[in-house]
């Protein structure tokens, strides 16, 4: 597949690895924010290749993992109403709320449909005028334009049975929260390449200036990740810190203004609770007044049950990079992908699930072999 295979080329990847080994005079600690990057790093064994040279802390880049309990509980209640279809990305289905997941709710008779795109939810609303169709809108800034487009189209078609359960989050405020924390060990960030595809990277300049931490916009394939890591190492070695863009083929410096406009028409920034973090100021978005009629919360006000608080999941510490998944006592024992205690073990992007999947159920060195 063009523009995918070339960036998985093992020869190019090994050359970059060699460059990184040459460039690093001491070990460095990096954080990749995006769950898709975590998934790719572990799947291709890049973290193992860099052992001793670069430590990769996996950040809270899994929007599924940081979706608050209240939102999941609300989604479960909605789908059980009888007159409502809850439409969601597949990623959310197994994440436990305080009373079970959407999959559990479906087993109990809830109406839950998975879709590949929010636009499919609009289609479902059109096809089922007898039902209320609620789309569970999770995701970072990469996904927000797709939901915004769905709202525009629903408005154009004057659909009265379509609404959103808004849980979109913004990456930058989370990065700020991590960089500002007293025990922050992160020396450079790999910024989420597809988020920057939409937003651009201008907002990272003040971040770098304030925290004196390099930010490098990075893609997802092995070659992209290694390029981003190499750039971080070079900056850290030279002490010349700045915003760099190593994913220019997709993430142009100014992002996608058309997508940004579609989003700002429909959404505005707001404070939002992140699961495991508490409220992050300006950490999310909400529907603007002109589109408030598409908000599921006022539409279904009165359905809410109190949130139960499970205490065993250390997602907060994992998501902030304070502990590795394997340091959690429940990892691999009471908490596995089949019986997850919290979100990071469910989502395929969650740090815990990625560890379980690619590093085996115990953190031991992976096998190496010279090709």
């Amino acid at each position: 597949m063009k523009f995918l295979d070339e960036f998985r080329d093992p020869t190019a990847a090994r050359r970059l690895l060699a460059e990184i080994r040459r460039a690093a005079t001491r070990p460095w600690t990096l954080m990749e924010v995006c769950g898709g990057q975590t998934h790719s790093l572990l799947r291709h064994g890049i973290d193992a290749e860099l052992e001793g040279i670069v430590e990769l802390i996996h950040g809270p880049g899994c929007p599924v993992c940081v979706t608050p309990l209240e939102a999941i509980d609300f989604a479960c209640e909605l789908c059980l109403r009888g007159d409502t279809m809850l439409v969601s990305f597949g990623d959310m289905l197994r994440v436990p709320g305080s009373r079970g997941s959407l999959l559990d709710a479906r087993a109990a008779g809830g109406n839950v449909r998975t879709v590949y795109s929010p636009l499919d939810a609009v289609e479902l609303a059109h096809r089922h005028p007898e039902l209320q169709v609620v789309f569970f809108a999770v995701g970072f800034e990469t996904t927000t334009p797709t939901t915004a487009l769905a709202v525009h189209l629903a408005a154009a078609r004057e659909l009265e049975n379509f609404s959103l359960l808004v849980a979109h989050v913004r990456v930058m405020p989370a990065m700020e929260a991590i960089a500002a924390s007293a025990d922050c060990r992160v020396q450079a960030f790999l910024a989420a390449g597809h988020v920057c595809t939409v937003t651009g990277c201008a907002e990272y300049a003040p971040f770098v200036a304030r925290f004196q931490i390099p930010v490098v916009v990075t893609g997802f394939e092995p070659v992209d990740l290694l390029q981003g890591i190499l750039e971080c190492v070079r900056q850290l070695e030279s002490g010349r810190l700045r915003v760099a863009n190593c994913y220019r083929r997709t993430a142009h410096d100014s992002g996608n203004p058309t997508a940004q406009r579609l989003v700002s028409d429909v959404f505005e920034i707001c404070d939002r609770p992140w699961r495991g973090f508490g409220v992050i100021p300006r950490g999310g978005v909400k529907l603007r007044a002109e589109f408030k009629r598409f908000d599921a919360e006022p539409r279904f006000a009165g359905t809410r049950l109190p949130v139960l608080d499970p205490t065993e999941c250390k997602s907060a510490d994992v998501l902030a990079g304070r502990i590795k998944p394997t340091a959690c006592a429940s990892f691999g024992t009471t908490c596995t992908p089949d019986s997850p205690l919290g979100a990071p073990m469910v989502s395929s992007e969650g740090a815990c699930a990625a560890y379980f999947r690619y590093a085996g159920s115990s953190h031991t060195p992976t096998h190496a072999t010279r090709p």
Partner: protein, 351 residues
Amino acid sequence: MNQHLSSPSCPALSTTDGQQITLAHGEGGRLMRRLLRERILPALEGTRKHDEDDAATLPLVKGQCAFTTDSYVVSPLSFPGGDIGTLCVYGTVNDLAVAGARPLWISLSLIIEEGLGLPVLDSVLQSIAAAAREANVTVVTGDTKVVPRGAADRLFINTSGVGLLLSPPIAGPAELRSNDELLVSGPIGRHGMAVMAAREQLDIQPCPTSDCASLVAAVEALRAAEVPVVALRDATRGGVAAVLHEWADRCDCTLAIEEASIPVTPDVRGVCELLGLDPLHVANEGTMVAAVRPGFGAAATDALRKVPASAKAAIIGRTTERSISPVVVRRGLGRYLPLDEPSGAPLPRIC
């Protein structure tokens, strides 16, 4: 809120246009007998025994039998490459074939949801007949039930099958030893992607097509070539990864495969990339994993490639001494990394 008013219907007069299964069909009376005599049995003509007794009388066989059962609940009922009828025959036939048996007789039990259209039933029956003919098996007994609306998803089918165990027997995964060679009989992930694309109406062109087919000829080819087969398994739910994990569970080896050697058609690859799925976790219905003794991998692929259903057979790896991970895969960078066991049905992801 938009109100959709359905046309009023009077229950007493509400009949079907005669073109749907109703609860009355399942009551064992005249309608049921008509359904059997006029639809089900004629459709299976040529592939069934000619008595309608509850229990089929079968001849004694010389040697041991293999007996298997499976239920089929696929949705949608029909997808590119087959339907529930094709599946229910080939699925059971393949279970017997990979057990080292020649499939002989199958039973056919239908659980029909009230309201299923007769044309749909006819179509499924035709598929069953065609598959049975192709696989050279006889439908010897069966059952039909009708359940109220909502109690079944349109149509559920159970087939059980009996086959004659052939010689030499297949040793089984417990006998896997280091350096045994691992193969697949064809490109992987086709069935799961075909069903998902159809069910979710993903609007993919060309439509991913199921690999649903009989593996009898492929297994026979290995036997005829005298390849020492250690283990065989059709890679259904959970895909190739599930089979490898199951085998690793039964033996003392690690199963190591090479990503670059695994055959995947461009359309399956494209859909999997789009949805974030791994073809190794996706179901197949006409593709098997085989383990053969060291040095016989090439002979095995040669033999398999002469059969249409396994024309693209390939060696994908081997067994090694057991290390920490039971199943490992080598991708581009050269390391062997754990291949996780599938848990739950693969769901498309945005993350």
